[in-house]
Amino acid sequence: MRTISRRDFLRLGAASTAVLAVESQFRPLARAAELLEGGRSVNRTSGLPRSFLPSTCTQCPAGCGIIGYVEESRLVKIGGNTKHISNAGTLCARGQAGINALYDPDRLLKPLKRTGARGQDSWVEIEWEEALAEVAQRMAAARSNPQSLLFLTEDVERDPLGRRFTHAYGSPNAIGSAGIHDANKKVATSLTWGAAGDIPDVARCKYVLVFGANPLENNPNFVGMARRFVDGIQQNQSKVVVFDVRLSHTTTFSHELHYVAPGKMALVALAMANVIMQDGLYDRDFIERWTNVSPEQLAQHLAQYSPERAEAEAGVSALDIRRLAAEFASTKPATTITDSVLSGFSNGVQNERAVMLLSIITGNIDNRGGLCMPRQYGLDEPAPAPPQPGVSVFTNPENVAFPSQQAVAQVLRQAKDRQAEVRVLMTHSVNPLYSSPDEGLNEDVLRDENVIPFHVAITPYLNETAAFADIIMPETTYMEDWEIEVRPSLEQVPFVALRQPVVPPLESARSFFEIARDLASRIGGGMEQFFAFNSVSDYLKARISSVGGLANAGGLDYLKQHGIWFDPKSRPNYGSYEAGGFSTPSGRIEVFSPRLAERGFAPLPSYETVQAFRELGERELVLTIYETALHTDGKTGNCMWLNEIQHDNPALINPETAARLGIEDGDKIKLIRSSKSGEAKERSIETEAFLTEGVHPDVIAMANGVGHTGFGRIAQGEKFKKDEVRHRELRDANFQLVWWGDHGGTGVNAKRIVPIEMDPIGGGQAWGDMVVSVAKD
């Protein structure tokens, strides 16, 4: 093209405009009514000015970076924050449905006080002053025994204010419920390499073994992990081999799926490790330098786990095991992804250690594309830090060898057994009555005023657990609240993120910060000094004060603007252990765990038989409760958009099994908890059969996240009109479109027949040990 003169330029411009005038409309980019450059935008249909703020999603543990779009103080859309290192702009359905959590039609906006018997659902609205005064008075009176405060939250790590409040009161009992899902993995990794958890570097690996995990639907690091998992397959042509009891979405992206008998995955992993050792495919240098066993010692120990034994007991062919072991050992880098279908058993810690062994003996540890240690900023507790109040039977139960704060599924049962006195139960945005096993028992405990004399629930919703409170304080949702959020980084570069209000709190909802500060000052007795922050900003600034580099970048103001900060110069420091070794007592990876030996457990990675599976009877199957991409356990049940997609959970049964049991597709069936001697009442649930090859013949599988018996009308599939919503700002014309309640219902909470049983090492719930007999209704 020649250089252009002004006249030519104008002429071409005019001709172009003429072309476009006759062409039908072309508007690939929807344009704002008026272009407002520089941080503002306009709704393209309503023309209203729009603002947006970055924040953090807490609809699941992953903590993705989000952008809230707001018009006239109303949140209209949640998008992904492209600057966030983990999700890089991607969001899952749950993240987008956060709008539903904010505008749940049955959201509580005034404090409630119980008027009838506990759990009878009769309430009176009271003022904040009355609620705070009463709770403070009860708590002040109870403080002669500070350990009598039991504080339940979702995850202690993610509720630093809750922990601070509990410790400031003088109680160690800040207990998270998340441990029922991930405690075994955390304990297994801590014992082995001195850090809790792992980050498989899936985007950069060439080979992935997936043991009982489902990164494309549900994972502690969900969309960030899913994104990288797919990247690995597409960019790196990584090979993916899945071991599971069910055909999950992840398996649809895999090259191979192998069904494994439930609870027996460790046999497969150990047989593979055995092959790698016997055939000399291991990384001798790594084992000798960085573990506390010798290759010979390990080979000898593993000899008992032959591929033939794994074939006989776990159902994966010996030929495949040999082939996959050779592939895994010879393709570098390779990694493993594990999750609850591996670790949610009474042998969960050992199962995790067995799979971890594969990465260890092939030297795929903390390297690019391998199994990496989590990297996360540890934030200082703002001064003055409350003194550590020691331990209690709740934090350190006798039947768990290595309890973590999050490892405790059994506190309510302990309370019932009077192992320690509870004077005040405070539940903070947690829903154990839905999420924990053995719903019936928990309900009885919460109902009994002798066991729990006072229960205050701090939550935006009247969920199953809050229904058994004496006072409910309506908390803000995560879209109206502040906190510093840290998570393990999926890029091995640690970051600090912010959760900030994208809209002002609705009506009189108050943040947990305000509630805790107010209560602390009313309870007094020294407690108030730990909440003497002038403002929430002071608290947040104190939280990030120890993060070097952030202050120079602009500190809290930087976070408010961008939502996330990480050191722009830092690069993934793979091989971090090379400098100072591993954070275990020996400084090495403890394949042989002296700590396990000391407590009488198998010190080398081993397969332990799951007692419950010893003899499966004629009509018995193993119940697997699986997580989907659409719900977070106990948390998202009130989100309309999610329920519209997933609202029920028929029981998946293999057609072969169904034929044997005389069950047809769509039949009403009953799942009865196989009774153990001495059990008082039979527990059962009723559901429908859904026949599919996509499930192991010994397994009956049901999705989690549905079957709520409280938590408002949306969660229970009730249809209603807009004007049947109490608070004006919660009204949405779409409520009349709730159709699923009348079409097949809202599912069943399968956890209600699962007894509380734990891995004795890690304390994680043994969800998978659950045997049911299946009857036709």
């Binding site: 093209m1 020649r2 250089t3 252009i4 003169s5 002004r6 006249r7 030519d8 330029f9 104008l10 002429r11 071409l12 411009g13 005019a14 001709a15 172009s16 405009t17 003429a18 072309v19 476009l20 006759v22 062409e23 039908s24 072309f26 508007r27 690939p28 980019l29 929807a30 344009r31 704002a32 008026e34 272009l35 407002l36 450059e37 520089g38 941080g39 503002r40 935008s41 306009v42 393209r44 947006f52 952008i67 492209t82 600057k83 890089a88 702009g89 985007a203 950069r204 990247d231 597409q234 960019q235 790196n236 890029e491």
Partner: protein, 223 residues
């Protein structure tokens, strides 16, 4: 673009002309051709003004019945940009590898950055569209030049200046990094003189408009 040296009327005119050309290019690379498009592209005014820049078409474009031409060009557009088979993925992230990306990819780092830019600008990407597609990036320039013209017309020089700065940034951070390369690929791969010529126009025009050749000081006539 900045039109600093020119009188205000002429600055408005120049901005409107740039908007017209960017819109046309966005239309041509953003979606399938129609009978109306080929008909108006063959109007004398258009052919003349292109010829003045040394851009011309061959018989495959000039002497075919318009219905048939629209069909042929639709097929060519699909073959070039959609496939099946080897085709040109006209997305910035495929041409520009992000930091930490092992290879170029769809929906890569650049895609996120472009999305972010649109958001700052107040533009929404409709569902199903990828922000860093060639057509959309050209359209974004059209939107900015149009807004710039409107501001100039309203006497809002500061606003027009901000839009010029946004264009400058978009050019530097995005267009200049890949438009020349993708246009080169189209020129090489296309069997149609229409797409070859339009790719040449796009490459030349983006370069001129982004490097400030088109400015208030644009010469009246070039020898």
């Amino acid at each position: 673009m900045t039109f600093s040296g020119a009188a205000s009327n002429s600055r408005i005119e120049l901005a409107r002309a740039a908007q017209g050309i960017y819109s046309l290019l966005a239309r041509i690379f953003g979606s399938l051709p129609t009978v109306r498009l080929v008909r108006s592209m063959r109007e004398e005014q258009m052919l003349d003004s292109l010829a003045a820049l040394g851009i011309s078409f061959e018989a495959d474009f000039l002497s075919v019945d318009e219905e048939r031409l629209a069909r042929e060009l639709s097929r060519e557009y699909t073959r070039l940009f959609t496939g099946p088979g080897t085709h040109i993925a006209a997305y910035e992230s495929v041409y520009v590898r992000g930091e930490g990306e092992t290879s170029p990819r769809l929906w890569g780092q650049a895609t996120g950055e472009v999305a972010e830019f649109y958001r700052e600008l107040g533009l929404e990407v409709p569902e199903g569209k990828t922000p860093d597609h060639l057509g959309l990036e050209l359209e974004a320039m059209a939107v900015m030049t149009q807004a710039q013209a409107d501001r100039l017309a309203a006497g809002d020089d500061a606003g027009a200046g901000r839009l010029a700065a946004m264009q400058e940034r978009f050019c530097r951070e995005h267009l200049l990094r890949w438009i020349p390369a993708v246009c080169r690929d189209v020129e090489q791969e296309s069997d149609s003189s229409f797409y070859r010529s339009m790719a040449s126009l796009a490459a030349g025009f983006v370069e001129m408009s982004c490097t400030g050749v088109i400015s208030g000081n644009l010469p009246e006539e070039v020898a």
